[in-house]
């Protein structure tokens, strides 16, 4: 059992790193696009909170922006990938526990996953 555990942890670690690097690459691409197309006006004001545009708050809106080559949407996609990375890690762990036939921890992982999905529902 210890051996499977170790392999499971290494697999999770590698997956997390891949997710972060992928997300960073997408954010970087979006960032370059963003800077190239930045409007030459006064810089954006972050000192007063008004929330970002509605279209940048939901996956649907971000997807729509992507189709129009909107740089901010590309950045948000990268950030979505980043947020999804730990969620995937919980799923991988759940599957790993299932393979080990560790029912108790399949349930524990399922509860954590349910809480995460509840939070992500707010996005949708």
């Amino acid at each position: 059992m210890q051996l499977t555990d170790e392999r499971l942890e290494i697999a999770i670690g590698r997956m997390l790193q891949t997710g972060v690097l992928l997300a960073a690459a997408v954010v970087l691409i979006g960032g370059v696009m963003y800077l190239l197309r930045a409007p030459a006006g006064p810089r954006l004001d972050y000192s007063h909170f008004h929330g970002v545009a509605e279209s940048l708050r939901t996956p649907g809106g971000i997807w729509h922006g992507l189709l129009h080559g909107d740089a901010e949407s590309v950045i948000q996609l990268g950030l979505l990938l980043l947020i999804a990375t730990p969620v995937f890690r919980v799923i991988v762990a759940l599957v790993g526990f299932a393979v080990e036939r560790d029912q108790l921890y399949v349930w524990v992982s399922a509860i954590v996953l349910a809480v995460l999905l509840y939070s992500l529902w707010h996005i949708g």
Partner: protein
């Protein structure tokens, strides 16, 4: 390295120096917290210290706390957030100086820990050392607090997580810090969804912060190997204390 994440620096830096609204700052910080935690996880896993079961079990508490914290952010004033943030900074600075001791000889473990199999072993100079979690309810409660602070302030709150595992549950220090790092990403993801839907995560701000922090954490780890850890920790703690006091003063004066 010093046991303090980047989150505790990002928010004060953005709000005090660049006068960014604290809600945007929290959003950008939370995103970078996920990046560093997940990025570092692979390295920690290879060391073989982190305990995936204990981590997963305690994540029930931290994720619930994180949602509660994110819920609070929308309801309390930015001044209140600033004051809480300042206090957490002061605590973090103090915690980084605490003696890293592990309670020895207390093999008395509760029924709960046995039932949940919150035990493990870690590589030691003389083979393997075994450990069992203690005071599980206290640790679970502290983890909920850690999650709430994480969701409220956009930080990893690693200091409180380590406190819960190292002090309350009597886990070995190395196990506590690495498992804590493992948990931070999942905890942050729980509130990030809510932040995003509220418009706290601004692409123009989160982009440079996330990339900068990630690049910094990758190069920083290499530089730190050669640096004097004691001096570094002292300097860092002083910076944190200064930031903490300034956060509180600014909040009270209503300038945040």
């Amino acid at each position: 390295m010093t046991g303090l994440g980047g989150g505790v620096v990002i928010v004060p830096l953005l709000t005090l120096l660049f006068h960014v609204d604290i809600r945007y700052a929290i959003g950008a910080s939370l995103v970078s917290v996920i990046a560093t935690s997940s990025g570092a996880a692979a390295a920690y896993v290879r060391e073989g210290y982190s305990n995936i079961r204990i981590g997963m079990f305690l994540e029930i508490a931290t994720t619930l706390g994180a949602i509660f914290g994110a819920y609070l952010t929308a309801r309390v004033s930015t001044q209140a957030i600033g004051i809480v943030f300042g206090l957490v900074l002061l605590y973090s600075a103090a915690a980084s100086f605490k003696k890293k001791h592990t309670m020895e000889g207390t093999s008395r473990s509760g029924k709960l820990a046995e039932m949940l199999r919150l035990r493990g072993e870690f590589p030691h100079s003389t083979g393997h050392e075994e450990y069992v979690a203690q005071r599980v309810p206290a640790g679970f409660g502290l983890m909920f607090t850690a999650g709430t602070l994480s969701g409220l302030l956009g930080i990893g709150s690693g200091a409180v997580k380590v406190l819960a595992m190292d002090q309350a549950m009597g886990l070995p220090f190395k196990v506590s810090t690495t498992t804590s790092n493992f948990m931070i990403g999942v905890t942050a993801a729980a509130s990030a969804g809510i932040y995003l839907s509220r418009g706290y995560i601004s692409p123009g701000l989160a982009m440079p912060v996330m990339l900068g922090v990630l690049a910094g954490s990758l190069t920083g780890a290499k530089i730190l190997v050669h640096a004097n850890v004691r001096t570094l920790r002292l300097v860092f703690a002083l910076v944190i204390v200064a930031l903490g006091i300034e956060m509180i003063v600014n909040s009270v004066m209503g300038r945040l």
